[in-house]
């Protein structure tokens, strides 16, 4: 039914009976991210809209200095070696992709001349290839012309395992060929509904100059001097870099976009902590922009009173969730805890899982911790703006949870803790050390206690919790606890990679050194079938319906309890007009930033 409705809606947009915005709203209502909705339209035969620019200045330069404060400073400036988003942010000041994402999830052209679509013949209707036309006349900062060779080279550089890039997954399964100096064709190994990953956005898309990196492909990659002194095509030219401390750049007078950039110099300072970064931007105005201000809302509200800056928010798809372990973390089988040969003694009863989800007081978590930086949600997969699957709902009710447990036979024992068949409702709840997470733990624990569930809290240092160290028992993939809480950023405006994690074949076990991505160890045939179908499904409408089904399955089975849909929080001077997208790095739209006096 959803298929048909979407299809007729696409027809309406094509014939001009419905405008694009209305379409996106309608699709968002059934649980689709705006960038994906736009790509559905592109595949359905309607060209993708180019993001509307809000840029006002009418001449290049003259804006003085732009001072950015990244409290975790970039430590290297090769985007394909980035160990975190901070390094992508820093590289993006100088390097550019073909296109990037604006706050609404629309595509914005950077080095490309045209958005590929089925009409203009650049996008294959079956999703097996996409052709990009490049902007003519673009020059690298050293004066050499930018051409299709650079794009092809970037692919060759990244996909070589000896280069040891972190973006290899985006590029290894596709083929890039040069058609002419200003045209490249990407051929995918299989139909690829999300065709705008390679060469798009700051995460994996930044293009490197062939003439400077050609000698440093493969095992010599670390020796390239340009790893630390980038020569790009971006709005600012590189001046100086001190890892972890400072990046400086000056205006690129030959920039390929008219009247841009606005600022004459740029400075990105690193170090310190989020609270004092907020203070330096909002209260004293020493800096113009502060990155990732994950600070309690009342602190921010206090700083904003009569301050020189304010906080700004961008909606993406980041969900803070509590994951439930479907295996038994307390029993060791063949030298492995949380083994697939076991079943969780408590969570094998669906009533317990359901009751637990009723005990997570999302309103209080929002009020007490995240404030303006969070939205309550029932969905695991959250999109921009109106991403609320209509099929799901949540509520907080200790009474209903208690009743559910009573009905399922979990009766309070002498100590007030519920038990059934000699099994007590005692849970170990782990997360990484991080102020808001510990507070969330406390809120959940309190509600659980009232309902007769005893919760033991555990917090692990983040560098251990998220580590790939096989020998450490406290990592999140090992999941030696009953429930655990964290967030997996949806760094790409498409759910496929995000949702593939929970395939049955991806369960994290001793055999695969806990590299499997399915850490709740939840196995569901319907989910597998839907994901596999979605991966091959070229019909974008059917594909969308499949992902909605997957989200609803995760909800019905209570695999995850979403605690909060988190927004990006940044601090900016009152006069600064930054463009921040929840679907892109902070510096992805930097060319459109300006100051209003």
């Amino acid at each position: 039914m959803l298929d048909k409705e979407l299809r007729s809606m696409i027809g309406d947009v094509k014939d001009g009976r419905m405008d694009r915005r209305a379409f996106i709203k309608r699709v968002a209502a059934v649980g689709l991210a705006a960038p994906l909705a736009n790509q559905i339209l592109a595949l359905g035969g309607v060209a993708m809209a180019e993001g509307v620019s809000t840029y006002k200045p009418t001449k290049r330069g003259g804006g003085g200095a732009l001072k950015l404060l990244w409290w975790q400073g970039p430590t290297l400036l090769n985007p394909h070696f980035a160990t975190g988003t901070k390094d992508q942010d820093g590289s993006r000041l100088f390097y550019e992709p073909l296109a990037c994402w604006d706050p609404d999830g629309n595509m914005k052209l950077v080095l490309a001349a045209e958005i590929p679509s089925v009409q203009n013949g650049l996008l294959a209707a079956d999703g097996t290839s996409v052709t990009w036309k490049l902007k003519p006349g673009v020059k690298w900062h050293d004066g050499k012309p930018f051409s299709a060779d650079d794009v092809v080279f970037t692919w060759e550089y990244v996909k070589d395992p000896a280069t040891a890039t972190v973006t290899i997954a985006t590029y290894r399964d596709l083929k890039v060929e040069k058609i002419d100096d200003l045209t490249v064709k990407i051929t995918f190994a299989q139909p690829t509904p999300f065709w705008a990953d390679a060469f798009v956005g700051a995460g994996a898309g930044q293009i490197l100059p062939k003439h400077l990196f050609a000698d440093y492909i493969g095992s010599k990659s670390r020796e390239a001097p340009t790893n630390l002194s980038p020569v790009g095509t971006g709005p600012y030219k590189f001046v100086e870099f001190k890892p972890g401390d400072l990046i400086r750049g000056v205006i690129n007078p030959d920039y390929h976009m008219a009247n841009r950039p606005y600022f004459d110099t740029i400075e990105m300072k690193g170090g310190g902590d989020a609270v004092s970064a907020a203070r330096a931007v909002i209260q004293t105005g020493e800096y113009d922009f502060g990155w990732n201000i994950q600070v309690e809302d009342d602190v921010l509200l206090r700083l904003e009173k009569g301050g020189k800056g304010k906080t700004i928010y961008a909606v993406g798809g980041d969900t803070e969730f509590i994951a439930l372990n479907f295996t038994d973390p307390n029993v060791e089988v063949d030298g492995e805890r949380s083994s697939m040969k076991t079943k969780h003694p408590l969570f094998s009863d669906p009533a317990v899982r359901k009751a637990l989800s009723m005990l997570v007081d999302r309103d209080s978590i929002k009020k007490a911790i995240y404030g303006r930086a969070g939205r309550t949600t029932a969905n695991f997969l959250n999109g921009p703006e109106k991403f609320v699957s209509k099929n799901t709902s949540w509520e907080f009710s200790i009474e209903k949870a208690s009743k559910l447990l009573d009905d399922a036979g979990w009766k309070p024992g002498a100590d007030g803790i519920r038990e059934k068949d000699g099994k007590k409702l005692k849970l170990l709840y782990q997360t990484s050390i991080n102020g808001p997470r510990q507070k969330t733990q406390a809120i959940v624990k309190q509600a659980c206690q009232k309902a007769g569930i005893e919760v033991e809290l555990k917090s692990v240092v983040a560098s251990v919790f998220f580590s790939s160290d096989v020998a450490n028992p406290d990592t999140y993939p090992k999941f030696y606890a009953d429930i655990e809480m964290f967030q997996i950023p949806l760094s790409q405006p498409d759910p496929s990679q995000h949702m593939r994690r929970y395939l049955s074949s991806n369960v994290a076990t001793k055999e695969n050194k806990w590299q499997g991505t399915n850490f709740p160890r939840w196995v569901n045939k319907d989910y597998d079938a839907a994901i596999n179908a979605a991966d091959k499904e070229m019909d974008p409408i059917k594909r969308a319906a499949l992902y909605i089904k997957c989200n609803d399955l995760l909800w019905e089975e209570t695999v995850f309890i979403p605690a909060m849909h988190r927004l990006k929080v940044e601090a900016a001077a009152n006069t600064l007009r930054p463009v921040i997208s929840g679907w892109a790095n902070e510096t992805d739209n930097l060319f459109d930033w300006y100051r209003e006096e």
Binding site: G84, A164, A169, G271, G272, A280, S467, D474, P489
Partner: protein
Amino acid sequence: MSQYILRRLMIAIPSLLGISAVLFFVLALAPGDPFSELATNPNVPPEVQAALRAKFGLDDPIYLRYLHWLSAMLHGDWGFSFVSRMNVDTLILQRLPATLYVIGSAQILALLIAIPVGVYAATKPYSLFDQIASTLAFIGFSLPTFFTGLLFILIFSVTLDWLPFVYSTDIKATGIRWVLEMIRQAIMPVAVLGLFQAAYMTRFVRSAMLDVIRLDYVTTARAKGLGQAKVIVKHVMRNAMIPVVTLIALQMPAVFGGAIVTEQIFRIPGIGSLLISSILSNDTPVVMAVTFVFACLVVLFNLIADVLYGWLDPRISLR
């Protein structure tokens, strides 16, 4: 004398080897790895993380890694940072000027306060001046630098708006204005660190002076009719300085090692902030290099202190 120094240097070799081994094994046993941030990025498959671990040799046995490190170090190759893929020595040299400037100034400030105040207080023990100095010193070293640092920021940056609280390494001015800016931005961190050190040293200088000032030869000197100034400076101070020199010599490595807390609060890009960020991101080669250099400096300055004893007090002979 030169024989003595040579012998001391020879003894230092095994102790440095021991220090490096302990450091390396402790760091290798510490949990976590430099690629943990990749783990939660669904775009980066776990194989990539595993491949990087293998490429950087993190999967080799610990003793092999130590031997690799040691032989490279002997050849002057400090290795490269996992996080920035940059040579460790360049990374450290880049951070050194800020640390030398800020921490060095703080030490000088501390000495300029501690020695006169300590000496004067000792000459008039339990006088009003001594009482006040002692009380202030007591308050000074009881207040941790993270507290005074934040207090200074609140007063001088937020409320009064006189001084910047983010240290900048690229000041866009030249000549005298550059110098003034450099001084202006260093006032708060230098004051915070310097006053803390001064408080600590004042008490030390005072008690060292008091120990000496009561000795018979001082009384003799006074009986001979020497002036107060001459007695204090020539006779008392020179002897009292021996423990003070030890203290200062052992403080010197800290001038190179940076001050972790203060550097973090004021965003000073020094060795201390490099060390803490490397520890947090499990960047072992950098942590190893910084701590090892620190160990070498401690050994070196110990030696210098011992040599200075001989100069201050000829009765101490070095053999």
